[in-house]
């Protein structure tokens, strides 16, 4: 199995009263809550943690895009990825992703991602995302009714801009360009492409038609993911395609410590902070037109792996640390326990690309660094064998080779 280091760049200085006094963590969150110098220090911390993850043998370093929110203060993930491209050696740069409809014209994405691929010597994974409703409909004002069409038009333009050898004209509905000739072109032609989804059949068919890697990126664990991930693999089988685990990515919050008591002591507050500071009121989270009617019907009819009540309790901070763990929202404990539970999760969901969330909420850097070290040295090496027999065209060949060469240097501790 492969590991991709990730953290939401959550602002860590929000007051206790935050969820009560400000019902939304996005869109209209008061800017006065955020200290810009502190944000800068925070960015440097994330860069250090990802550099450490690169040295410890992670396969990828994941960065994401959100706007007008304290939950993830990375409006351009490409900027963070650029810092990493020049200061890491081995891991893939998993930009997951750019909200394609928000770049105008979208060749901006083709250019910046090509820059990243050049700077990193071919280590880029290109993630294409719709973007959350808060990002797209509210912060960037795209009419929800147009979002999907704009996304697909941009996707076609970007892919052609990376692969067509000659300049071409592009006469789209939303973008018209007489001379498309992106320079530089990426090292990989094209880079592997990942598209995350929330369980709609439309997205499943898109990733299978185009041979993209599919990501189910939630913070609600195995039970929540079960019906959706099963649906995905059923679709892969129905279409007669290879059920290769590497075409699926999944996120999991991980809290490793030497003992279970220490895990609770060191991560308890940060987990609670993470889940209680990400509120989005319904009118921001579900504007009309954002989800297609077909997808809404599927969502309304699909069995829920985790009850709405449990999700609400999580975001209201009414769960104990070990209840978060029981529900699978986090996987916490000793290296032995964490690797056992991750193996169960990965085998059941058939996940080849695990996006490990190693920092959450207001976790101190030293604890995140400890989490990295314990996971990198005492968890990851034990799960390397999983799915090793499957091809993986969804990660860059350069990062695969370099991580494999580096991985041998990581001592696997004896039990």
């Amino acid at each position: 199995m492969k590991y991709h280091w990730f953290a939401e760049a959550t602002y860590d200085g929000l007051p206790e009263t935050y969820p009560q006094k400000h019902p939304s963590g996005s869109v209209d969150v008061p800017a006065s809550l955020v200290d810009s110098l502190h944000v800068g220090a925070h960015y440097r911390m994330f860069i250090r943690l990802m550099q450490q993850a690169d040295r410890l043998g992670w396969d990828g370093l994941a960065v994401n895009e959100h706007h007008q929110t304290t939950f993830a203060m990375t409006p351009s993930p490409n900027l963070l990825a650029a810092s990493l491209a020049s200061s890491t050696e081995n891991a893939a740069l998993l930009v997951i992703g750019n909200s394609l409809a928000l770049y105008n014209p979208p060749i901006r994405v083709a250019e910046e991602m090509a820059y990243l691929d050049c700077l990193s010597e071919g280590r880029l994974i290109a993630g294409f995302v719709f973007g959350t409703p808060m990002d797209t409909a509210f912060a960037y004002g795209v009419p929800p009714a147009e979002l999907r069409a704009r996304f697909h038009e941009a996707r076609e333009l970007i892919t052609r801009a990376w692969t067509e050898p000659e300049p071409f004209a592009f006469n789209g509905t939303y973008t018209k360009l007489r001379y498309v000739n992106v320079l530089p072109r990426p090292v990989q032609t094209p880079p592997p492409i990942w598209v995350p989804g929330t369980g709609s059949v439309e997205t499943w068919d898109l990733v299978l038609d185009e041979d993209y890697c599919y990501g189910y990126l939630s913070f609600f664990g195995l039970a929540n993911a079960r019906p959706i991930v099963r649906g995905f693999w059923d679709r892969v089988e129905q279409r007669g395609l290879d059920v290769n685990p590497n075409r699926m990515a999944f996120t999991q919050i991980i809290c490793v410590a030497d003992t279970e008591a220490e895990a609770e002591r060191r991560y308890g507050d940060a987990v609670r902070y993470f889940f209680t500071r990400q509120r989005a009121p319904l009118h921001f989270a579900a504007p009309p037109g954002y989800t297609s009617i077909a997808s809404q019907r599927e969502m309304l009819e699909r069995a829920r792996g985790v009850s709405t009540e449990d999700r609400l309790r999580a975001t209201r901070g009414e769960l104990s640390f070990w209840e978060y763990d029981d529900l699978g929202f986090i996987i916490a404990g000793t290296p032995e326990r964490v690797r056992q539970r991750l193996r169960e999760l990965a085998v059941e969901l058939r996940v080849g690309q695990l996006i490990t969330c190693m920092h959450m909420g207001d976790l101190p850097e030293e604890t995140a660094a400890m989490n990295n070290e314990l996971f990198g040295l005492q968890v990851a090496p034990h799960l390397r064998d999983l799915w090793a027999e499957h091809e993986d065209p969804w990660t860059p060949s350069v990062s695969r080779a370099r991580v494999a060469a580096g991985a041998a240097a990581v001592p696997v501790p004896t039990r």
Binding site: A137, G141, P143, P144, A145, P281, P287, G289, Q296, R297
Partner: protein, 257 residues
């Protein structure tokens, strides 16, 4: 259901509420939904032929994906009226339908005999920013009505016993289609075209509309060459429901003058 094919544009299967005989009147419904056979439509149909199509993208009307912008909608309405063999027609447009009605009157002035705009969208005033019509449902509901919201709002929704989610999906689809023309700001350039309207125009406005203040109606009157304001007191975004008598009387008097 009426079907319209526009070459190189698309096919539209449109739900059409039609009643009465006499001079034709096109009624274009608001951003939330078609009102069905509401009382005010029945009363207008006592003296004329009322044609009230459901907008493509709403309810069971199809063809929404053929629209790229508001000009497409305008030309669709022109073609729709022509397909009925009608050369000149009175047009009443409410809310988002008001934007479409005004566009039609500007782009096809020969077709529109008289124009009535009712709490119409289409303009934006920097010093009077309006409430987000897609905002929190309880806030929007409160803003729409002068008095207590009615038990059931006027609608053409037909419950489906086999589909428990039908009502949710109906609302989501209708409002989702409205975002094409109203998100994030319901201004698609109509201001520049209002001065081209030839038709005598009545700008009806429920004065308690919390979504669109009266100043928006006044701006329509200022920009349309031959326009008169008809404020309706004790009514919000739906004056035809809250003050049906006053509404029908104002519209009928204007159309028959």
């Amino acid at each position: 259901m009426t079907t319209l094919e526009i070459p190189h544009v698309g096919r539209f299967d449109v739900e059409l509420w039609e009643s009465g005989s006499g001079d034709p009147l096109l009624y274009l419904h608001g951003y939330e939904r078609h009102p069905g056979g509401a009382g005010f439509l029945e009363r207008l149909a006592q003296s004329r032929r009322v044609l009230a199509p459901e907008q493509p993208g709403y309810g069971r009307s199809t063809g929404f994906e053929s629209f790229t912008d508001v000009l497409d909608v305008t030309l669709y309405h022109r073609e729709l009226v022509e397909s009925w063999g009608i050369e000149r027609i009175d047009v009443v447009g409410h809310s988002l339908g008001g934007m479409f009605a005004a566009e039609l009157a500007a782009v096809a002035p020969q077709m529109v005999r008289k124009l009535v705009l009712v709490n119409a969208y289409g303009l934006w005033l920097d010093d009077q920013p309006t409430l987000d019509p897609f905002g929190p449902a309880d806030e929007v509901k409160k803003a729409k009505w002068h008095g207590e919201p009615p038990q059931t709002e006027p609608t053409n929704f037909v419950p489906d016993p086999d589909n428990p989610h039908a009502a949710i999906l109906f609302a989501a689809q209708n409002l989702g289609s409205a975002t094409k023309f109203m998100w994030p700001i319901a201004d698609r350039g109509l201001r520049r075209r209002l001065p081209l309207i030839d038709a005598p125009t009545l700008v009806v406005h429920g004065t308690s509309d919390g979504l669109l203040p009266l100043s928006y109606a006044e701006e329509f009157v200022r920009l349309i060459p031959d326009a008169t304001l008809a404020p309706i007191e004790a009514a919000g975004h739906y004056p035809m429901i809250e003050q049906e008598d006053a509404f029908v009387s104002a519209v009928t008097t204007f159309l028959e003058a």
